[in-house]
Symmetry: C2
Subunit: 133 residues, 2 copies
């Protein structure tokens, strides 16, 4: 099992425990639809997530990946998030518009990471920034 798989499963389990029905999405292969890694819903809110596991920041996201996440989310009707997992740290969830632009795509640096939502904030639907970070 790829290490990324393990973290996707961890996230799916956390979402079920928090009252969301959640699924991992397999790569579409030859079909090449714009797909996220995880989809979740609780009857009120729908989430689409691109999951990124990295050993350290900054973490880079290609324009193609980000556009696929946004395109899927708009069509499906879901809030898009980049779900970030750094070993020995908690999950953080970043809206696409919070990412920093690079020459070739986007990145999550310490600043973006710290301003991301933690899991409780994600599932409680808190979208404002925390005051003391």
């Amino acid at each position: 099992m790829r290490r990324g798989d393990r973290y996707e499963r961890e996230l799916v389990r956390m979402l079920w425990n928090a009252g969301f029905a959640a699924v991992r999405v397999p790569a579409s292969g030859a079909m090449s639809f714009p797909l996220p890694d995880v989809i979740a819903g609780n009857g009120k809110r729908y989430l689409a997530m691109e999951v990124k596991m990295r050993s350290a920041l900054p973490l880079y996201i290609t324009t193609t990946e980000l556009e696929a996440l946004i395109e899927f989310s708009k069509l499906f009707g879901a809030e898009p998030f980049v779900a970030i997992r750094i070993p020995k740290s908690d999950w953080r969830f970043v809206h696409p518009e919070e990412l920093k632009r690079t020459r070739r795509g986007y990145k999550v640096d310490d600043d973006v990471y710290l301003r991301g939502l933690d899991f409780d904030e994600l599932v409680r639907g808190i979208t404002q920034k925390r005051l003391f970070e």
Copy 2:
């Protein structure tokens, strides 16, 4: 590729072509969450489907499968459907409450199949029965 996979892919492609973002859901394996085979959304409606491909009717569905579909759909916030594909026939989509009870589960016979929605009716959100079948 299993034959069932091919039909799931066909259905996913038809849903994208009809303006829904749609995904195939892999079996959860050891995690054993109640999962459908296909999820779709178009920003207004969300669909969760158990896909059944059979060479002929009647087609049987276990209580466990049907309860998983209903449980997932309630929690996620989706309309549940059993998506039925008989070779050389079109897809039909049946609400769980339309299924006939058997001693061990549920079944789709000719009567249930013919009263199911066709694909256009499904994506247009038609839920009433057609008059002339």
